[in-house]
């Protein structure tokens, strides 16, 4: 209730189903221990996992911070940008002796490469002379930066190629598809580049320009080698074939009620694909899952009103047992099954979607013939003071979220943490030379 009052946007929504309230006491919510990481002094928008112990966060305060996920220790601060950092990219280590690196792209027309170990700035790239909106790793040696232009760099910071973006808007999404093609999204346009990854002279070449969305493209995700999906602000999700770049399906039609369109309440905020088959779409306040492998992109899972406000991002954690959705209503909600009806079957669950739904794909499809499966609300993680901007999954260890309240929160499974601490204390005490 409180939140509804605070969010006037949501107040008029009478038409949609009411948002579910979390069960009292949240017995199914394992994430009851939090580490509140405070270092940023502006909105934290980006999170990037470095390895299973560390991650980096960045945001509008022009800095990026490397954190240790176990104890929330602040490891290093990446200071150097003068405008907000818009994108983060991890360059994984390629040889034994070189460290993994973090690439940050910023609106200040700089790309900086940092050591992920020490936080030391290794390279500062300025040759592209345009602001950066997104970064994409092409292969181990080469990465691509998008913004006002598309530029191709190698690991050492050498500019390989650069193509100015003709569109008015900056490129903010990029994916690669098969046959070394790069798809970029700027506003409502998709532009396709050919990547010539010649060892000697890698080159970019613009090969196509597609315009099929009516509104700005908000999300772009590869599904499989043969197709990818785009989602736009107006709520339309399009499936594309990779081979000939034809749009094959429209997954989510704009609802009839035009009055709502202007507010883009069906904005496709995020698209996540699982198992190259299930496309998770965060649309407005709810999320939908389509089975791409079926004929028409069958809707298999639906939660129309998962949050009080727009879902900003979603992702799986605990290897699929829990779907976490983050929203502008300051909460992260956890979805899944409350209890496994058939424990034996639950044990055999291998794939993410099987763990999540407790059903195998055909069962899910069969179910979808009649009704759509709805996950149960397991818990509501409510600690942020503003919209949650980013989500990062550390499998069973923890979930990391960042938000507009300038903080990063590590959510931990407190039961597990208790055991971990027992182990840590035991280790301390029972160390060979521990007790004198």
């Amino acid at each position: 209730m409180f939140q509804r009052l605070l969010n006037p946007v949501d107040r008029n929504r009478k038409d949609t189903e009411p948002c579910e309230e979390v069960e009292d006491g949240q017995p199914h919510n394992p994430y009851t221990e939090i580490l509140v990481l405070q270092y940023h002094n502006d909105i934290v928008r980006l999170l990037l996992q470095i390895n299973d112990k560390r991650f980096v966060s960045a945001g509008d305060d022009n800095i990026a911070v490397i954190w240790d996920v176990q104890y929330g220790r602040h490891v290093a601060t990446l200071i150097g940008h003068t405008l907000p950092i818009t994108s983060l990219l991890l360059l994984p280590r390629v040889e034994e002796n070189n460290d993994s690196c973090i690439v940050t792209g910023s609106s200040d027309k700089h790309i900086k490469i940092w050591s992920a170990e020490t936080g030391e700035c290794l390279t500062d790239l300025t040759e592209h002379e345009s602001s950066i909106r997104c970064l994409l790793l092409i292969n181990q040696e080469i990465f691509c930066a998008g913004g006002n232009s598309v530029s191709l760099w190698n690991r050492n910071g050498k500019l390989l190629d650069l193509i100015k973006n003709s569109a008015a808007e900056d490129i903010h999404l990029m994916i690669t598809i098969k046959n070394d093609r790069l798809i970029t999204a700027a506003d409502r346009d998709l532009v396709v580049y050919k990547l010539n990854l010649d060892k000697m002279l890698p080159k970019l070449e613009k090969i196509d320009h597609i315009q099929s969305h009516f509104e700005a493209i908000q999300s772009l995700t590869p599904i499989s080698s043969s197709c990818f999906a785009t989602g736009s602000v107006d709520g339309m999700i399009l499936l594309w074939t990779s081979s000939n770049l034809q749009q094959t399906k429209v997954l989510h039609e704009v609802p009839e009620d035009k009055s709502d369109v202007k507010r883009f309440s069906y904005n496709v905020q995020s698209l996540v694909c699982v198992q190259e088959r299930y496309l998770f779409a965060a649309v407005g306040r709810g999320f939908y899952v389509f089975d791409i492998a079926s004929d028409k992109g069958k809707l298999v899972i639906r939660k129309k009103t998962a949050h009080l406000s727009k879902i900003t991002c979603l992702g799986f954690t605990c290897e699929g047992e829990i779907l976490a959705t983050c929203s502008e209503d300051r909460c992260m909600r956890l979805w899944g099954r409350k209890s496994s009806s058939d424990p034996w079957k639950a044990d055999r669950a291998i794939t993410t979607i099987e763990r999540f739904t407790g059903m195998q794909s055909h069962e899910l499809l069969n179910l979808a013939q009649n009704s759509v499966w709805e996950p149960s609300l397991l818990g509501e993680c409510c600690a942020h003071g503003g919209p949650i901007q980013g989500f990062l999954d550390f499998e069973y260890e923890s979930i990391v979220t960042c938000g507009s309240d300038n903080i990063v929160i590590i959510w931990k499974n407190s039961e597990m943490q208790k055991v971990r601490r027992n182990q840590a204390v035991q280790k301390l005490l029972l160390n060979a030379d521990g007790i004198v």
Partner: protein, 1081 residues
């Protein structure tokens, strides 16, 4: 030595002459006491050889024989013939060999001089001096005390510390000596060269005039040869010595230390630009204090060539050595500082520390030794408010945790370096008052024996979980012991039984109940005796007739930062409580809290004698120790006697007087009324067992400059020697009580019923009356009503009291033994305004349903107390009162915020656990408490008188709350709460060791959170098994869990933060998704 006692003497004068006179002047004759106040305190002053311990350094000078060199402190031992004593202690020759040069080991002996009444620990050591006979300078360093016990009990410690300190001296000396020898060798070489030169010159001359070779020249040449021979010989000798000594100079640590000292000294010199290496210099301040007996150390004034230099290369110009003449030994010998250089400086510093430590009363030392153990490692101690409720890894020393490695001296002094939050802010007056309050409490506490009974079953309970019981030495290891561990965790309880003041052996806790068994019959006898003695003694001068006399001596040092608080409580005869409070301050703001309860439970024996003796000893010792504390400007001691029945409270002066009432026993019509009088920083309190009506006359109405025999002294602080002996030597009464109560099932059944879950932290528990005699109750009641009225009316009632009390009937009512043991010092229960726990009773009585809030606090859920600005004071009061429920570890985190108008965020909640927040007028709660915060907190809305909290369903807090009406003062109730909190901490301790540190606690059954509900319940099963074993149920489990999590975190954190990685770690915040309910408050 008596000079320092001028203040006291003046005061004594007043007490003896002034005060009684005024009393007699003011009072109508019938009100004058029929006895004269006991002159307790001059006794000690006249006692011989009451002096502070000192350290004397003496030397067997080759010129003068044995002579004292210096004392620590400088004026120490002024009253004894140091020369004679030096002769006595140096009448030894412990140097082993006379052949060649050998290293002589130090020797340590104990010497007693019964005539002087002094005892000495003598550490003999040899310093080397190349100018001295045989290169040796026999020294001895002596610790001189009047307490033989101290030396015997702490022999190991003293010995070890002396060895350590002497090492500095010796090491410095060796470096100096080797340097000297090397220089001497150079001298010899130089002389040799010179002589050879002479010879060759002579030869040359001979060559020139060969014929003139005569006898004289030959003689000269022979002479020279002889000289050369001597030189060669001594060269060989010196080289040998050097070869022996050089390998011994291998202590890098000491050398580094000396080097550091030297660097600092010279750095200062250069910084100042001129000769700063003089004695006036700060750096050498402590040298200068020592140096006066060593005139030659004036050479320090020569800056650059300071003899203290050990490492600076000195340009040495070899000198010719006089070889012909026999060595003269009349040159003044070098002083200690010249001999040992920086070693002397460091070593003497050590000795000063040693002195500072050991000059304390043996009892105090004992306590410190025992109790300080409880605080190590510090990171795992858990505290509530000011009360340390437990240490989970007591005495587990960790090599790899730097935190745990403590400096030996640091470790010695209890709490030294242990900062106790706001301890430094114990304002002098306030703290005094409250301390006084506390001692009042000590008079009226109850449940003492009850408590015994209470935990008794529990001890057995503990035993189930493998605990060893009562082993005094179990305190040395991570304990899972019931009574004993808890006992030692908190405060030492030494119990004595003294029909004849013959105490049982200290080290054994008497378990054989037969000896001390109290049957009900015995009790009756005892009581009758008391009764009779009361009657008979009532006419005596000394108030020994009282069934209970509580003597409370408080000595409070008032300086800006009061930091040390010793609290010793003696319960003599179960009726007499002697409380010593000693609040001292020192620069370091360290707090010391000690409590010693002594129960002497034979009431039939001459109680008055006991108290007289006690008090005498107290006083004498006070005077002794005053000396040591002379640096404190203000010294105040309140000597308070509280008489239960026969005494009328005395009021002295026109200060504020408060009459505090005591608590009523739960089921009993008898009550104790304890009027306590305070004036300024002094107070006198007495306890009256009288009425069921609690008497609280206003202070004004009870201002009577009368003297009813309560003596009241201003004394310097100190610790009573006899008491210490008592404390040390007596043990076991508790057990006696226990056994007694085992026997007296009927009597105590009701108490047991109430207390079946309580455990062994009984030390702090309140003790109570063990039996009643009902025949007197009616009488008493009437009486009390009467007196109560009278008290408020004025003076007359004093007399009445007197008469009534003297009459056998009231005396017939059986006295309830009381002994209150303080947790870690009286100041813990300091409930003056602003201290944690102040106004707790008021708060609890004015708000309902606070147990839900307390539950939140104890289980780590933050509590917000919201009100508008106009209720700010109320909020602050509430916050302060509830602060005692916030568990804290060593971690210095401020987790209580009294008042803030800043909106809270989740970040704050990770730190703050109890916050008073300003609620804007006319705005809803939601508008200033963010949703995320609100969900994770319990909220008290004072404006609407509403509590939103997760409901508490459990035993402990209910138990804590249920008895609150029985308590009349905060202090009493606080200690009751502390007791329960310790109880909880004890359970948590057991849980921690039996589950968290066990293998089951560290198995992660499944990573999957869903599975954790099933397989993890395996863990929970174990968890719940242990909880069940511990008798913990429902919500209490969460409290226990929270406690152990806190300790774990503190432990891990201390490890991590000292790890190689930099960066602070974040304290995890547990969001408890709980169902909250709204209550009215």
């Amino acid at each position: 030595m008596f000079g320092e006692y001028a203040q006291i003497a003046t005061y004594l004068q007043q007490t003896r002459d002034g005060a009684p006179q005024t009393a007699q002047e003011c009072l109508p004759p019938y009100l004058c006491p029929t006895y004269s106040p006991p002159q307790l305190y001059n006794f000690g002053l006249e006692k011989k050889n009451n002096f502070e311990d000192f350290i004397m350094i003496a030397e067997f000078s080759e010129l003068e024989g044995p002579k004292p060199v210096m004392t620590i402190p400088k004026e120490g031992g002024a009253h004894i013939d140091q020369n004679a004593f030096a002769v006595k202690i140096l009448a030894v020759d412990f140097q082993t060999s006379s052949e060649g040069f050998s290293i002589t080991e130090d020797a340590q002996v104990l010497i007693s001089d019964t005539e002087l009444g002094i005892h000495a620990f003598v550490h003999h050591l040899i310093l080397y001096d190349n100018t001295a006979r045989g290169f040796v300078r026999p020294y001895c360093i002596t610790y001189i005390t009047t307490e033989q016990r101290k030396l015997l009990h702490f022999y190991e410690d003293i010995s070890l510390q002396f060895k350590k300190a002497a090492r500095y001296l010796k090491y410095g000396n060796k470096i100096v000596f080797v340097g000297d020898l090397e220089r001497h060798l150079k001298d010899l070489e130089h002389t040799k060269g010179y002589l050879l030169n002479q010879v060759s010159k002579m030869r040359l001359k001979d060559d020139l005039n060969e014929n003139q070779v005569n006898e004289a020249r030959k003689n000269a040449e022979n002479e020279m040869y002889r000289t050369l021979q001597t030189i060669r010989q001594s060269s060989i000798e010196i080289k040998e010595i050097i070869s022996i000594l050089k390998p011994l100079l291998n202590d890098r640590r000491l050398e580094a230390k000396f080097r550091e000292l030297e660097d600092k000294a010279f750095q200062q010199t250069t910084q100042a630009g001129e000769d700063k290496l003089s004695l006036q210099d700060n750096w050498f301040n402590d040298l200068s204090s020592i140096e006066e007996c060593d005139l030659r150390s004036g050479s320090l004034n020569e800056s650059k060539v300071s003899p203290l230099t050990l490492f600076k290369p000195r340009d040495y110009k070899p000198l010719l050595v006089e070889t012909k003449k026999a060595k003269r030994f009349n040159a003044p010998l070098r002083g200690l500082h010249e001999l040992c250089s920086w070693g002397a400086k460091e070593g003497l510093k050590k000795f000063r520390n040693i002195h500072n430590h050991f000059k304390k009363e043996a009892m105090v030392l004992d306590l410190e030794r025992n109790e300080s153990r409880m605080l190590r490692p510090r990171c795992t101690s858990l505290s509530h408010g000011h009360c340390v409720t437990g240490n989970f890894l007591s005495d587990v020393y960790m090599k790899n945790v730097p935190n745990c490695v403590t400096n030996e001296f640091e470790g010695w002094s209890m709490y030294s370096g242990h900062q106790w939050g706001s301890s430094a802010s114990l304002e002098s007056l306030d703290s005094f008052k409250s301390a006084d309050d506390g001692s009042l409490l000590s008079l009226n506490t109850f449940n003492s024996l009850l408590a015994e009974t209470e935990y008794y079953p529990d001890v057995e309970n503990f035993n189930d979980i493998n605990v060893d019981k009562n082993g005094p030495d179990t305190s040395g290891s991570p304990r899972v012991s019931g009574k004993s561990s808890l006992k030692s965790n908190l405060s030492m309880l030494s119990i004595c039984k003294t029909s004849d003041l013959d105490f049982t052996d200290s080290q054994t806790i008497v378990e054989d109940d037969s000896e001390y068994l109290f049957s009900e019959k015995n009790l009756v006898e005892v009581n009758t005796k008391v009764e009779s003695s009361t009657v008979s003694l009532s006419s005596h001068t000394f108030p020994k007739a009282s069934q209970c006399s509580n003597i409370d001596i408080s000595s409070i040092r008032e300086t800006s930062d009061v930091s040390t608080h010793l609290d010793i409580l003696l319960n003599v005869n179960s009726h007499q409580v002697i409380t010593f409070k000693n609040i001292m301050s020192d620069k370091t703001n360290h707090i010391k809290c000690i409590s010693i309860p002594l129960d002497i439970d034979d009431s039939s024996s001459i109680p008055s004698d006991i108290s007289v003796n006690e008090m005498n000893s107290l006083e004498s010792n006070n005077t002794q120790s005053a000396k040591s504390d002379k640096q404190f400007t203000e010294e105040q001691v309140t000597f308070r006697e509280n008489f239960c029945k026969s005494e009328v409270p005395e009021i002295k002066g026109d200060g504020k007087s408060t009459l505090s009432t005591l608590l009523e026993e739960e089921d009993n019509s008898k009550h104790y009324v304890k009027p306590g009088l305070q004036f300024g920083p002094f107070s006198i309190a007495s306890v009256e067992e009288i009425s069921s009506v609690s008497l609280t006359p206003s202070s004004d109405s009870y201002q009577t400059p009368s003297d009813y025999g309560c003596s009241f002294l201003k004394l310097p602080s100190g610790i009573p020697a006899n008491m210490s002996q008592l404390a040390q030597e007596l043990n076991g009464l508790r057990n006696d009580y226990v056994s007694k109560f085992y026997v007296e099932e009927d009597d105590t059944a009701r108490y047991r019923a109430e207390s079946d879950t309580s455990s062994a932290f009984t030390e702090i528990s309140l003790r109570d009356l063990f039996s009643y005699r009902d025949n007197a109750s009616d009488h008493n009641k009437n009486h009390q009503l009467q007196t109560g009225k009278d008290i408020s009316d004025g003076i007359i009632k004093g007399k009445q009291f007197y008469e009534d009390v003297d009459s056998p009937v009231p005396c017939a009512s059986i006295w309830k033994p009381r002994c209150r043991l303080y947790t870690l010092g009286e100041w813990i229960s300091n409930s003056s305004i602003g201290k944690p726990g102040s106004c707790i009773l008021e708060v609890l009585s004015s708000y309902q349903n606070l147990h839900h809030i307390i539950y939140s606090l104890l289980s780590g859920r933050p509590v917000l107390i919201a009100a508008s600005v106009r209720l700010e004071q109320e909020v602050i009061k509430l916050v302060r009162a509830l602060t005692i429920f916030v568990p804290m570890t060593k971690r210095k985190r401020q987790n209580v915020l009294e008042w803030t108008s800043k909106p809270l965020s989740i970040v704050d909640l990770a730190k703050l656990k109890l916050v008073g927040i300003c609620r804007p007028d006319k705005r809803s709660l939601d508008s200033f408490i963010p949703c995320a915060v609100k969900k994770t907190c319990s909220i008290v809305d004072l404006e609407k008188r509403v509590i939103i909290a997760s409901p508490y369903q459990g035993f402990y807090i209910s138990a804590m709350m249920s008895k609150r009406k029985l308590f009349k003062t905060d202090v009493q109730y606080l200690s009751y709460i502390h007791w329960w909190l310790m109880e909880l901490a004890a359970k948590a301790f057991l849980f921690f060791h039996s589950f968290c540190l066990s293998s089951t606690g560290s198995i992660l059954y499944s990573l999957s959170p869903r599975d954790q509900h099933d397989p993890y319940s395996t863990t929970e099963k174990t968890e719940s098994t242990i909880m069940t074993k511990l008798g913990i149920r429902d919500c209490d489990c969460e409290i226990i869990q929270h406690f152990s999590e806190l300790v774990k975190l503190a432990k891990i954190e201390s490890k991590i933060s000292h790890g190689t990685d930099s960066g602070s770690i974040v304290y995890p915040f547990n969001i408890q998704h709980k169902v909250c309910q709204t209550y009215r408050c």
